[in-house]
Symmetry: C2
Protein backbone atom coordinates (compact mmCIF):
# COMPACT_ATOMS: atom_id res chain seq x y z
CA UNK A 1 0.00 0.00 0.00
CA UNK A 2 1.58 3.22 -1.20
CA UNK A 3 1.68 6.34 0.88
CA UNK A 4 -0.70 7.97 -1.62
CA UNK A 5 -3.27 5.25 -1.10
CA UNK A 6 -2.86 5.43 2.65
CA UNK A 7 -3.32 9.21 2.64
CA UNK A 8 -6.45 8.92 0.48
CA UNK A 9 -7.98 6.35 2.80
CA UNK A 10 -7.09 8.48 5.82
CA UNK A 11 -8.72 11.51 4.22
CA UNK A 12 -11.96 9.62 3.61
CA UNK A 13 -11.94 8.27 7.16
CA UNK A 14 -11.29 11.68 8.65
CA UNK A 15 -14.06 13.46 6.74
CA UNK A 16 -17.70 13.53 7.84
CA UNK A 17 -19.07 15.28 4.77
CA UNK A 18 -19.13 12.48 2.15
CA UNK A 19 -16.45 14.13 0.03
CA UNK A 20 -16.02 13.73 -3.72
CA UNK A 21 -12.77 12.87 -5.46
CA UNK A 22 -11.84 16.51 -6.02
CA UNK A 23 -12.30 17.41 -2.36
CA UNK A 24 -10.29 14.40 -1.24
CA UNK A 25 -7.55 15.29 -3.69
CA UNK A 26 -7.38 18.81 -2.28
CA UNK A 27 -7.22 17.45 1.28
CA UNK A 28 -4.48 14.96 0.48
CA UNK A 29 -2.42 17.68 -1.24
CA UNK A 30 -1.80 19.16 2.20
CA UNK A 31 0.48 16.17 2.76
CA UNK A 32 1.42 15.15 -0.77
CA UNK A 33 1.34 18.36 -2.82
CA UNK A 34 1.78 16.84 -6.25
CA UNK A 35 -0.58 13.88 -5.97
CA UNK A 36 -2.46 13.37 -9.20
CA UNK A 37 -6.25 13.53 -9.43
CA UNK A 38 -6.08 10.32 -11.47
CA UNK A 39 -4.37 8.58 -8.59
CA UNK A 40 -7.13 9.73 -6.26
CA UNK A 41 -9.82 8.44 -8.60
CA UNK A 42 -8.06 5.12 -9.13
CA UNK A 43 -7.51 4.48 -5.44
CA UNK A 44 -10.99 5.55 -4.41
CA UNK A 45 -12.41 3.17 -6.99
CA UNK A 46 -10.18 0.34 -5.83
CA UNK A 47 -10.93 0.94 -2.16
CA UNK A 48 -14.64 0.94 -2.95
CA UNK A 49 -14.35 -2.26 -5.02
CA UNK A 50 -12.55 -3.93 -2.13
CA UNK A 51 -15.31 -2.88 0.25
CA UNK A 52 -13.02 -0.74 2.38
CA UNK A 53 -14.98 2.42 1.67
CA UNK A 54 -18.30 3.03 -0.07
CA UNK A 55 -19.05 4.90 -3.25
CA UNK A 56 -22.25 6.90 -3.20
CA UNK A 57 -23.74 8.15 -6.39
CA UNK A 58 -25.89 11.26 -6.26
CA UNK A 59 -28.10 12.53 -9.08
CA UNK A 60 -26.40 15.22 -11.18
CA UNK A 61 -23.13 15.52 -9.33
CA UNK A 62 -19.79 13.89 -8.75
CA UNK A 63 -19.67 10.57 -6.93
CA UNK A 64 -18.98 10.84 -3.25
CA UNK A 65 -17.22 8.50 -0.87
CA UNK A 66 -18.22 7.31 2.55
CA UNK A 67 -16.11 5.77 5.32
CA UNK A 68 -19.24 3.92 6.48
CA UNK A 69 -19.52 0.72 4.46
CA UNK A 70 -22.85 -0.36 5.94
CA UNK A 71 -25.47 0.58 3.32
CA UNK A 72 -27.80 3.46 4.09
CA UNK A 73 -29.72 6.18 2.29
CA UNK A 74 -28.60 9.78 1.94
CA UNK A 75 -30.12 13.23 1.96
CA UNK A 76 -28.88 15.71 -0.63
CA UNK A 77 -29.61 19.38 -0.14
CA UNK A 78 -30.82 20.81 -3.46
CA UNK A 79 -29.41 24.24 -2.54
CA UNK A 80 -25.87 23.62 -1.34
CA UNK A 81 -25.40 20.04 -2.56
CA UNK A 82 -24.40 18.83 0.89
CA UNK A 83 -24.90 15.15 1.69
CA UNK A 84 -25.93 13.70 5.03
CA UNK A 85 -27.08 10.32 6.25
CA UNK A 86 -30.72 9.34 6.20
CA UNK A 87 -32.22 8.24 9.50
CA UNK A 88 -31.84 4.64 10.62
CA UNK A 89 -35.64 4.25 10.61
CA UNK A 90 -36.07 4.98 6.92
CA UNK A 91 -33.11 2.81 5.99
CA UNK A 92 -34.48 -0.09 8.03
CA UNK A 93 -37.96 0.27 6.56
CA UNK A 94 -36.51 0.17 3.06
CA UNK A 95 -34.27 -2.82 3.74
CA UNK A 96 -37.14 -4.73 5.27
CA UNK A 97 -39.19 -4.10 2.12
CA UNK A 98 -36.28 -5.05 -0.15
CA UNK A 99 -35.62 -8.35 1.57
CA UNK A 100 -32.04 -9.58 1.38
CA UNK A 101 -30.89 -7.12 -1.27
CA UNK A 102 -28.25 -4.76 0.10
CA UNK A 103 -27.22 -3.26 -3.19
CA UNK A 104 -29.19 -0.06 -3.57
CA UNK A 105 -28.82 3.69 -3.81
CA UNK A 106 -31.38 5.88 -2.08
CA UNK A 107 -31.09 9.63 -2.29
CA UNK A 108 -33.73 11.92 -0.83
CA UNK A 109 -33.72 15.56 -1.83
CA UNK A 110 -34.34 17.83 1.13
CA UNK A 111 -33.09 21.27 2.04
CA UNK A 112 -30.61 21.18 4.90
CA UNK A 113 -30.92 23.16 8.14
CA UNK A 114 -28.26 25.71 7.18
CA UNK A 115 -29.88 26.50 3.84
CA UNK A 116 -33.37 26.74 5.37
CA UNK A 117 -32.17 29.52 7.65
CA UNK A 118 -31.11 31.75 4.77
Amino acid sequence: MSKQREAILAAVRKSCSHPDADTICAAVRADIPNISLGTVYRNLGKLADEGIIRRISVPSGADRFDKTICPHGHIVCPVCGGVSDLSQEVTQALEQALGDCRSYELTVSRECQECKKL
Copy 2:
Protein backbone atom coordinates in the same frame (compact mmCIF):
# COMPACT_ATOMS: atom_id res chain seq x y z
CA MET B 1 -44.83 23.37 -28.88
CA SER B 2 -42.59 22.59 -31.85
CA LYS B 3 -42.85 19.38 -33.82
CA GLN B 4 -39.46 18.35 -32.42
CA ARG B 5 -40.71 18.68 -28.88
CA GLU B 6 -43.89 16.84 -29.72
CA ALA B 7 -41.96 13.99 -31.32
CA ILE B 8 -39.65 13.73 -28.30
CA LEU B 9 -42.58 13.56 -25.90
CA ALA B 10 -44.30 10.98 -28.09
CA ALA B 11 -41.13 8.85 -28.15
CA VAL B 12 -40.91 8.88 -24.36
CA ARG B 13 -44.60 8.02 -24.05
CA LYS B 14 -44.32 5.19 -26.55
CA SER B 15 -41.31 3.53 -24.92
CA CYS B 16 -41.51 1.11 -22.01
CA SER B 17 -37.77 0.77 -21.43
CA HIS B 18 -36.89 4.03 -19.63
CA PRO B 19 -34.80 5.30 -22.55
CA ASP B 20 -31.89 7.72 -22.30
CA ALA B 21 -31.45 10.84 -24.42
CA ASP B 22 -29.40 9.04 -27.05
CA THR B 23 -31.99 6.32 -27.51
CA ILE B 24 -34.80 8.85 -27.75
CA CYS B 25 -32.81 10.84 -30.27
CA ALA B 26 -32.33 7.74 -32.43
CA ALA B 27 -36.05 6.95 -32.22
CA VAL B 28 -37.12 10.47 -33.14
CA ARG B 29 -34.74 10.48 -36.11
CA ALA B 30 -37.07 8.00 -37.79
CA ASP B 31 -39.46 10.95 -38.19
CA ILE B 32 -37.12 13.95 -38.07
CA PRO B 33 -33.82 12.70 -39.49
CA ASN B 34 -31.70 15.75 -38.69
CA ILE B 35 -32.92 16.48 -35.18
CA SER B 36 -30.05 17.54 -32.98
CA LEU B 37 -29.03 15.67 -29.85
CA GLY B 38 -28.86 19.03 -28.11
CA THR B 39 -32.51 19.64 -28.92
CA VAL B 40 -33.40 16.27 -27.46
CA TYR B 41 -31.51 17.01 -24.24
CA ARG B 42 -33.00 20.48 -23.93
CA ASN B 43 -36.55 19.32 -24.45
CA LEU B 44 -36.24 16.30 -22.20
CA GLY B 45 -34.91 18.58 -19.47
CA LYS B 46 -37.71 21.08 -19.97
CA LEU B 47 -40.41 18.42 -20.07
CA ALA B 48 -39.01 16.97 -16.85
CA ASP B 49 -38.86 20.40 -15.18
CA GLU B 50 -42.47 21.01 -16.13
CA GLY B 51 -43.47 17.67 -14.61
CA ILE B 52 -44.69 16.24 -17.91
CA ILE B 53 -42.18 13.40 -17.84
CA ARG B 54 -39.78 12.21 -15.18
CA ARG B 55 -35.99 12.16 -15.18
CA ILE B 56 -34.45 9.15 -13.52
CA SER B 57 -30.83 9.18 -12.58
CA VAL B 58 -29.01 5.86 -12.40
CA PRO B 59 -25.57 5.33 -10.87
CA SER B 60 -22.80 5.37 -13.49
CA GLY B 61 -24.84 5.83 -16.62
CA ALA B 62 -26.80 8.32 -18.65
CA ASP B 63 -29.98 9.76 -17.21
CA ARG B 64 -33.12 8.03 -18.33
CA PHE B 65 -36.63 9.34 -18.85
CA ASP B 66 -39.91 7.92 -17.75
CA LYS B 67 -43.42 8.63 -19.02
CA THR B 68 -44.72 7.75 -15.55
CA ILE B 69 -44.52 10.89 -13.44
CA CYS B 70 -45.68 9.23 -10.24
CA PRO B 71 -42.48 8.63 -8.23
CA HIS B 72 -41.29 5.04 -7.81
CA GLY B 73 -38.05 3.13 -7.40
CA HIS B 74 -36.19 1.34 -10.19
CA ILE B 75 -34.24 -1.83 -10.70
CA VAL B 76 -31.06 -1.63 -12.75
CA CYS B 77 -29.53 -4.82 -14.11
CA PRO B 78 -25.77 -4.71 -13.48
CA VAL B 79 -25.17 -6.90 -16.54
CA CYS B 80 -27.18 -5.31 -19.36
CA GLY B 81 -27.97 -1.95 -17.76
CA GLY B 82 -31.70 -2.39 -18.35
CA VAL B 83 -34.06 -0.46 -16.09
CA SER B 84 -37.42 -1.67 -14.82
CA ASP B 85 -39.89 -0.50 -12.22
CA LEU B 86 -39.64 -1.60 -8.63
CA SER B 87 -42.70 -3.26 -7.14
CA GLN B 88 -45.47 -1.13 -5.73
CA GLU B 89 -44.94 -2.74 -2.31
CA VAL B 90 -41.36 -1.57 -1.90
CA THR B 91 -42.19 1.89 -3.18
CA GLN B 92 -45.08 2.19 -0.76
CA ALA B 93 -43.03 0.99 2.18
CA LEU B 94 -40.37 3.58 1.39
CA GLU B 95 -42.84 6.44 0.95
CA GLN B 96 -44.53 5.57 4.22
CA ALA B 97 -41.17 5.76 5.97
CA LEU B 98 -40.25 9.02 4.23
CA GLY B 99 -43.48 10.76 5.17
CA ASP B 100 -44.60 13.47 2.80
CA CYS B 101 -41.35 13.70 0.84
CA ARG B 102 -41.86 12.61 -2.77
CA SER B 103 -38.53 13.78 -4.07
CA TYR B 104 -36.24 10.80 -4.00
CA GLU B 105 -34.25 8.45 -6.21
CA LEU B 106 -34.16 4.77 -5.39
CA THR B 107 -32.19 2.39 -7.53
CA VAL B 108 -31.82 -1.25 -6.65
CA SER B 109 -29.18 -3.30 -8.45
CA ARG B 110 -30.48 -6.71 -9.41
CA GLU B 111 -29.78 -8.98 -12.38
CA CYS B 112 -32.76 -9.15 -14.73
CA GLN B 113 -34.49 -12.38 -15.84
CA GLU B 114 -32.96 -12.35 -19.33
CA CYS B 115 -29.39 -12.00 -18.02
CA LYS B 116 -29.91 -14.67 -15.35
CA LYS B 117 -30.73 -17.22 -18.05
CA LEU B 118 -27.39 -16.79 -19.81
